[in-house]
Subunit: 101 residues, 4 copies
């Protein structure tokens, strides 16, 4: 299962880098395969382990904030392992060129 | 915690009403407060009970499909109960008129 | 084309009802069919008119905020008019009961 | 303005790589700064040029499909240029280590 998520505190400040850094420390320590991008974090794993990770991130930010918006997109496809690497490679192969990552 | 989610099967047909009906039967039977709209379902509850419900819906659709995309938006705000009704009412009060629902 | 969107100011306050009220005044005045729910607004129309409406809402909130996150989900299906009403009705027909809205 | 988007055809097949390749050819040819990830594409630019690009991608996929779901997340912040590179760097600086991308 491939999942992108982002955790956004509302109402503290327009600068939310400290809270995002806290989230990414938790993701990096989780041991799950992940990739960060400028709008969110993609992780790969099973439902329960991913949901547990996102809960930990969300609750961490809620300790210091009154309101948090967490967005999660799940792409679940049978019989396709290692999609965090293979999905982009498969597109590049189709296009015949390397794309910006 | 207020959560909107949608479960979308990819690759079976452009008509996905049967799978959405299955999802909504599960939501309706859950006992959690909910409201459906043309693009998703909003439920209110605690993290674990909502995540359990969405997992049940997602897994149900995965039994008959090869690929499912599930999207979840969580709006978590301290000390605000019954937001599934109050959020819209509070906006209507500000505007001074009833809006279409 | 059926589109759900939400416009969320980051960094002013955890209470964002005033800005959401501004957005909904614009939506209500647009003349497009719409339905609000506790997590966003669903509108129906053509690409250009909907994008113009969302731009107006987003820019309005940006006049008073330093940072705004706007989320848009587009469900575009050929040959299906009046989906803002029909989509939910078609699900209720399948389930054989009226659902909470 | 930093924008992540994805264009997903519903109902043709669970394998949608060909359509995503078409979308990424359009993005790559647009001249806008972009980064792809396993769940979507992040682009940076002004409202009108980004919306024009996403419309082109969406309409391209609609030419061969009956139904397409396009999801867009906009993060608009005053006075912050080159966020497509700087946002991740600023988090890595806070954490004091390089993260997986």
């Amino acid at each position: 299962m491939l999942v992108e998520f982002s955790v956004i505190p509302i109402g503290s400040s327009s600068s939310i880098g400290d809270q995002i850094a806290e989230v990414l420390r938790i993701v990096d320590a989780s041991g799950l395969p992940y990739k960060i991008n400028p709008m969110g974090t993609v992780v790969e794993g099973e439902w329960d382990e991913i949901v547990k990770l996102i809960k930990k991130c969300h609750k961490k930010v809620m300790t210091s904030e009154d309101r948090v918006i967490t967005t999660i997109s799940i792409d679940d496809r049978k019989g396709k392992p290692n999609r965090i690497d293979e999905k982009v490679k498969s597109i590049e192969k189709r296009i015949g060129k390397s794309l910006k990552k």
